[in-house]
């Protein structure tokens, strides 16, 4: 693993000009964080909190008012830093006149891929995002989920070490959303660093190792997800096939100890999303039979 951080943002400030009377609008206020290679980092915050501006500064799409951003040690205001980055913007609209395959080839060519290498890479990515069957269709006919997946494929075309995703599942149905999350897990397993911006907390909780919470342009919390969301003074025990007598014994044991207190017992709950995915999958299986 490299010593250089995949992403390093130091005291980033971004102000936008407004009318003369109002003065500048500070969208990002002294934000600092680092992302180690191979990490999945989620930047969460409400709409207008400065997530996208931070990301754009990292991609060199906006110039920082002060502070620095670097990608694998390269100043992100320089074009060189983009050689190792793939980016999927929120609700991407690619050239509608191109097919899925042509879109990947177009971005591949921009990254310098040619000939057999480009063809192989295009086929690999179409396979990865499960769009091989739709590769010849024009993007004008793609669903939102398919557009997000082709967007992810173009982001990965030059085999980058860092992938930046802005609200990757915005407006996508639960099945499409799950496919995108599976792709993020896939990237993580391959050691690719992922920087994810989202306001969908459940999604971030599921895929990220580290998170930062940004609010009104300030990074108010940052750290390992496990550390941030665990309740230090509580311990969770989940039992399977426990009869009522055993539960009574456990309660008695807890009551006999000073300081310890049983807070809650009950059945663990699945999420609505898991329920939805399970039921639709089951329905699909029974239809196939």
């Amino acid at each position: 693993m490299s010593d250089v951080n995949a992403v390093e943002v130091r005291d980033l400030v971004k102000e936008f000009k407004t009318s003369f009377r109002r003065g500048p609008l500070r969208a990002v206020d002294k934000v600092s964080f680092t992302i180690a290679p191979g990490e999945v980092y989620g930047l969460i915050g409400p709409n207008g909190s400065g997530k996208s501006t931070t990301m754009k500064a990292l991609l060199g799409l906006v110039q920082p008012t002060s502070g620095t951003c670097s990608i694998f040690g390269h100043d992100s205001t320089k074009v060189d830093s983009r050689q190792d980055v793939g980016f999927l913007p929120e609700n991407p609209y690619f050239y509608k006149h191109l097919s899925g395959e042509e879109t990947i080839r177009f971005y591949g060519k921009l990254c310098g891929l040619r000939g057999a290498a480009l063809k192989t890479r295009t086929n690999e990515l179409l396979e990865l995002v499960d769009l091989t069957n739709a590769k010849d269709r024009r993007l004008g006919g793609y669903s939102k989920g398919m557009l997000q997946r082709i967007g992810l494929a173009q982001a990965l075309v030059q085999d980058p070490r860092l992938v930046i995703l802005d609200e990757p599942t915005a407006g996508v149905d639960p099945i499409g959303s799950r496919q995108i999350r599976d792709l993020i897990f896939n990237l993580k397993s391959r050691g690719i660093t992922v920087f994810l911006c989202s306001h969908l907390l459940e999604q971030v909780e599921e895929v990220c190792d580290h998170v930062g919470i940004i609010h009104k342009g300030r990074l108010i919390k940052s750290g390992r997800l496990e550390d941030l969301i665990s309740i230090e003074e509580q311990t969770e025990i989940v039992l399977s096939n426990a009869d009522p007598a055993l539960l009574d014994d456990i309660k008695k044991l807890i009551d006999s100890r000073d300081g310890a207190e049983l807070v809650r017992t009950g059945k663990p709950r699945t999420t609505l999303e898991h329920l939805f995915l399970r039921e639709t999958r089951d329905a699909d299986s029974s239809n196939d039979e």
């Binding site: 936008f16 754009k56 991609l59 060199g60 799409l61 906006v62 110039q63 694998f72 390269h74 074009v79 060189d80 830093s81 983009r82 050689q83 190792d84 980055v85 793939g86 980016f87 999927l88 913007p89 929120e90 609700n91 991407p92 609209y93 690619f94 050239y95 006149h97 191109l98 177009f106 971005y107 060519k109 921009l110 990254c111 310098g112 967007g151 173009q154 982001a155 030059q158 085999d159 980058p160 070490r161 930046i164 050691g191 690719i192």
Partner: protein, 309 residues
């Protein structure tokens, strides 16, 4: 996995050509292009039919051909200028609106490559459109020239004209037919549209409105048509009154760089009138075009390199 081993070149011809190809295809899909192209092709093609002309019965054969060529070249000129302004005003805002610009510039693509790619794509589209129109125009003109030669020379022989008079009439008609001067005239229309496209590109790099870009570029085009006359008038006036001639000269030179001077390009009218348009003059105009395009493209790059997207 990729490694940051190589530096991204400030300008890459292959990347620029990829972007130009994509811009060309993108613009080809716009209905406005087809609408305009078909309209102009009909305007040229309709001349296959013998229509009543405004020229009188005493007019010569060359007058007849001139009255045929003039509106057709005019239609081609307006097609090229309109496409240059409208297409250039549309491409960058459309990429920004669709966020295609984000995904392109998030790749190792220098902004100069992007701008040049867009400009080349637009120029390729204009060139292709003009080429189609020029082929049809030449076919129509050749057909009319041959018909006219047959009619006029036959009539001259019947009327007992001398051999010199018949030859002179033949040369007059041929001068108004398809010629290399006329082809250079059509290429000059392309050069004018290339200049105005680079002006529109510059305006679109700082304008947030497509309409603003279209209006400003159109104004620059019209100012460019009359600027030389205005400049000559003020320089002559300053020289006559003997006041501030240096300042006036510098100001007029600065104005020539700010607004392109299209007066030399009016040689197209001379070519349409059947006059000689030497290759040397054409290469001179090519040089002027390169100078203007260079200035406007470098300015566009300066503005666009710091543009917040």
């Amino acid at each position: 996995m990729s490694k940051l081993s190589s530096r991204t070149a400030l300008f890459s011809p292959s990347r620029t050509l990829i972007l130009a190809g994509s811009t060309f295809t993108q613009l080809m899909r716009m209905k406005v292009f087809y609408f305009l192209l078909i309209f102009v092709l009909i305007a040229i093609g309709v001349n296959f039919i013998e229509l009543p002309h405004t020229v009188g019965p005493e007019s010569t054969g060359s007058d007849k051909l001139f009255s045929l060529k003039d509106p057709m070249i005019g239609a081609m000129r307006y097609f090229a200028i309109i496409i240059a302004i409208v297409a250039t005003a549309l491409v960058i805002p459309k990429d920004q609106e669709d966020r295609t610009l984000y995904t392109i510039l998030a790749k190792p693509v220098p902004r100069l490559d992007y701008l040049l790619g867009k400009l080349l794509g637009i120029l390729a589209l204009i060139f292709a459109g003009l080429l189609v129109m020029a082929i049809l125009f030449n076919v129509v003109l050749h057909f009319h020239t041959e018909t006219l030669l047959e009619n006029r020379l036959g009539m001259a022989e019947q009327m007992g004209w001398s051999a010199e008079a018949i030859e002179s009439e033949r040369q007059d008609i041929l001068r108004q037919g398809p010629s290399w001067s006329l082809q250079r005239g059509i290429l000059t229309i392309f050069l004018m549209s290339a200049i105005i496209a680079s002006v529109a590109l510059l305006i679109s790099t700082f304008s947030s409105s497509t309409l603003f870009t279209i209006i400003c570029s159109t104004l620059v085009f019209f100012v460019g048509q009359f600027m030389a006359d205005g400049r000559d008038y003020y320089v002559a006036k300053a020289a006559a009154t003997g006041d501030g001639s240096n300042l006036t000269t510098y100001a007029s030179k600065f104005l020539s760089l700010t607004f392109p001077d299209f007066r030399p390009f009016n040689i197209v009218d001379a070519a349409v009138a059947g006059k000689m348009y030497p290759p040397g003059v054409f290469f001179g105009l090519l040089g002027i075009t390169a100078m203007y395009m260079g200035i406007y493209t470098v300015l566009s790059w300066f503005v666009f390199s710091d543009k917040e997207i």
